[in-house]
């Protein structure tokens, strides 16, 4: 890859961000960008690389978020200890949902994932163990460092950055391995892939398990940082849509697409929320809608494709 210098500069910029700005709002936006990048990169494993557009990833995000706070409320553990529990639950749900939904194609698959996710949201909203409609709270004051409860966004920034680096390194290795080629073939067409010996269903399932596991970790990190979740903020359909939009905006099926998408969407969302007050879901929906329209109309393959088009044009101008 000839973009390595650019990647290095981008990485250094992100790593230095909280030190470059000493405004807490901007530092918080930085941490949220990384969290969104983790979530969307996790979605990208299935939705981007394998081309199976899930609109139900809130299930895995929610499983991670709830697991973190349930181990605290029920057992008194530090919330981060719930992350492996969330991953285990997510893998179980993925295995359960995956096999039947993968028999569906295109829009039908997407619709089935929405339905499954909504089912879990309704379940959580009525289950006292999960705080029902009210939701769950983390530790009000940190008991030990293990509670990972900090006033400053800076520790979260570096925690999220570390997780993102692990995830992207893994994705990069996957992309270059047999699995990467098989997922690309599946995205290109099941029928041709199978004729070449690609076990399509098995690889879709691998991609889903990997994707669900990391989405769940993102959910746990979110709960650890925010310290409060309810059915809408941890399992709402808006989360599923957001992951999809971020990845599509930056470029689904590319390594850095979700990170680029997060670097655009999250600051935009946070500033509009700050300007129009509160969680402003109305504004959020309008922004999401506008982005879907723009991406669909002008650059269906995201900013990464735009970048590719620009750089190859520049390259081909050289005699």
């Amino acid at each position: 890859m000839k973009q390595w210098p650019l990647v290095l500069i981008g990485f250094l910029f992100i790593a230095a961000w909280p030190l470059l700005v000493d405004d807490v709002f901007l530092q918080r936006v930085g941490a949220l960008v990384l969290l969104a990048a983790i979530s969307a990169s996790a979605w990208n494993l299935l939705g981007g690389y394998a081309g199976q557009v899930s609109v139900g990833h809130a299930v895995y995000f929610g499983a991670g978020a709830y697991a973190s706070l349930v181990v605290y409320t029920e057992l008194g553990w530090p919330p981060i200890a719930g992350a492996p529990v969330g991953v285990a639950v997510s893998l179980a749900i993925a295995a359960l949902i995956g096999t039947p939904t993968f028999r569906l194609r295109g829009h039908y698959f997407s619709m089935a994932t929405i339905a499954a996710a909504e089912l879990f949201r309704i379940l959580a909203a009525n289950w006292p163990l999960l705080g029902a409609a009210v939701g769950l709270m983390g530790p009000p004051v940190p008991r030990t460092v293990a509670d990972l409860s900090f006033l400053s966004p800076i520790p979260y920034h570096y925690l999220f950055l570390a997780v993102l680096v692990v995830l992207l390194t893994l994705t990069w290795k996957m992309q270059r391995s047999r699995m990467g080629y098989y997922l690309a073939a599946i995205r290109g067409g099941d029928r041709a892939a199978r004729s070449l010996g690609v076990p399509v269903l098995r690889y879709k399932l691998y991609a889903l398990l990997l994707s669900a596991g990391f989405t769940s970790i993102a959910g746990s990190l979110y709960a650890v940082m925010v310290g409060f979740i309810d059915p809408d903020s941890a399992l709402g359909i808006l989360i599923s849509v957001k992951l999809l939009i971020i990845a599509a905006l930056g470029g689904a099926g590319t390594l850095f697409g979700p990170l680029v998408g997060a670097m655009i969407l999250i600051p935009l969302e946070e500033t509009t929320n700050a300007m129009f007050g509160g969680g402003g879901t109305g504004i959020t929906f309008i922004v999401y809608g506008a982005i879907i329209l723009l991406v669909a109309r002008f650059q269906p393959r995201g900013i990464a494709a735009l970048w590719e088009a620009i750089t190859t044009r520049r390259a081909s101008r050289v005699p």
Partner: protein, 242 residues
């Protein structure tokens, strides 16, 4: 027996696209499958390759019953096929398309890459290796389909109209390629519309008509068979009248 299909029926509703067809293939030969459009050749291929489940009949390949086996299993056992309408992986380059096939027997990237390059060389596509597959025209795509199938290192290759839509010069190149594939020791069943191709390539011709095998034997003798002429002529006249 290398490949043995017995009494294959494939029904779509009440309509039988394949209606009790038999086929025997011995190792090392080139069999030509001919017949008018709509005779059921592609549907029969889909049954052989595990892409469609036959309504009735049995298929044995290398002494194994593969009647209900998936396409993946067929590929692993050594049966590869091309599609009449090429199904290229559009977002990949030419060499990446071929690597997908090569990964079947070479689990590591370097090995798959080496195999893919070897196949591209063999099929005369080396100069296009790095090009996006979506930039290929029909002849390129047909050749890429063959290359991808060869990369799975098959023992039997099913070619569905791999030469259709090519110019006479391209057809000559393709015929030469098929001969070289046979030279590798790969058995070939080829569906072809152009009689001359079957006459120059196949050692044996099998004629399909309305889902049934109506004649088979030496290509020369088969094309002079009155029943075959009638099948083709009847079909031709029907089309003219439309």
């Amino acid at each position: 027996m290398f490949l043995e299909a017995r009494g294959i029926i494939k029904a779509f509703g009440a309509f039988r696209a394949v209606d009790g067809a038999d086929l025997d293939v011995t190792q090392g030969e080139i069999v030509g499958l001919i017949g008018p459009n709509g005779a059921g050749k592609s549907t029969f291929f889909n049954c052989l390759a595990g892409d469609a489940e036959p309504t009735a009949g049995t298929i044995r390949f290398l002494d194994r019953d593969v009647t209900n086996a998936t396409p993946e299993v067929h590929a692993r056992l050594g049966m590869a096929r091309t599609f009449q309408v090429p199904v290229t992986f559009e977002d990949m380059t030419v060499v990446e398309n071929v690597m997908v096939g090569a990964f079947l027997r070479h689990h590591h990237r370097a090995g798959a890459m080496r195999k893919a390059e070897e196949v591209l060389e063999f099929t005369g596509l080396s100069h296009l290796a790095g090009s996006p597959a979506r930039s290929l025209g029909t002849p390129g795509r047909k050749r890429l389909e063959i290359a991808r199938a060869l990369a799975t290192e098959p023992r039997l290759l099913l070619l569905d109209e791999a030469l259709a839509g090519l110019t006479p010069a391209e057809v000559r190149l393709a015929i030469e390629l098929v001969r070289r594939i046979k030279g590798l020791g790969i058995t070939i069943v080829i569906v072809e519309h152009i009689m001359e191709v079957i006459l120059s390539l196949a050692e044996r011709a099998v004629v399909f008509h309305q889902g049934k095998v109506i004649a088979q034997g030496a290509p020369r003798a088969v094309v002079d068979d009155p029943a075959v002429i009638a099948a083709y002529l009847g079909h031709h006249m029907k089309r003219v009248r439309m």
